[in-house]
Amino acid sequence: MTTYWPWWTVAPALAALTVGHWILVRRPLGVSGVLARFSRVREELAFDRGTAVMQAGSPALEAAMAAAAAEFLGGPLPDSLAAEAPAETGSAPQAAPAGRECAPTPPLSAHLTFLVAVAAGGFLAALSRGTFGAGTGDAFARLIGSGPVALAALAGGGALVGFGTALCGGCSAGHGLTGCGRLMPGSLLSTGVFFAAAAAVSLLLGGLAS
């Protein structure tokens, strides 16, 4: 029987990672959406290239848009319009000091780094416990089975997780920790529903096996 951390150690660690993720990379912690990007790699790489053009080429983009606007208006831009963009600093009326903004989606390679690091974290933890290479465990074999049945359950269960998290827009991290931590209605509802559904299916599995 493996010894795991008690709940009062796990809770602050998960909370620190949830808030720390936002503080460090200005993105809400989430895993399912990051993973889903790797189910459509070509499209996401094209998205990255578009983001890079928008970020790096903004002066060129602005000039092109100004030229297009001038052509549309049939002459040079009125001074009021042309002068507005660069002059607008500091004096603009601002409400309460604005909080930090959400950063743009990082490139796919940074998300790959994240996912590989999650696996590496599991590797280090298993090494430190001396349980590297352990199987899925007795309970799984007793309640689900072994051999092809077990693999089918993992594939089918995984597919439900992949489809379901994409449909409800988050997983136990994105909804359960980050979304609930911010009391977002969609996350609170999702988390209540996925815990209830998981409890029902788990009780059913236990009932069927006994």
Binding site: W7, L35, G158, V161, L205, S210
Partner: protein, 144 residues
Amino acid sequence: MKNLDTHARMAALGLGLGFVVSAAGLADWGEIHRMFTLGLQGGPRDFRLILAFGGAVALAVAGFLLLARRDALPPKPIRPGTIPGAVLFGAGWAVAGACPAAALVQIGEGKSAAFVTLGGMLAGAWLHDRMRKRFHWARHSCID
């Protein structure tokens, strides 16, 4: 340079998350099963992971209030896909014993069967993407 910084931060956060998920037992099928059944089916009551999760949410609420009250995190409204998606995710989590992070952690822990779980997750996400485009479902505002 900025890119290297992003990778370093992502690596640190990923390592931390993977280590904690593994140390919590959130990548252990039996522990997940006891979390969802509270140990009711034979054996002693087990509230460890439910308390861990509930405690993490409570502390995250406090943390966001203290450190990010004014920040513009993307909203998470209730959508048509919220309930059906959550039902499917919950069912899959109970059967496969893995949320998306846990599948990666299991691979790191040397549980090679988790490659099958991960493949299922990618296939499910791919199918959702195809159906979203085919039936013109709205895209979620933020990747998470």
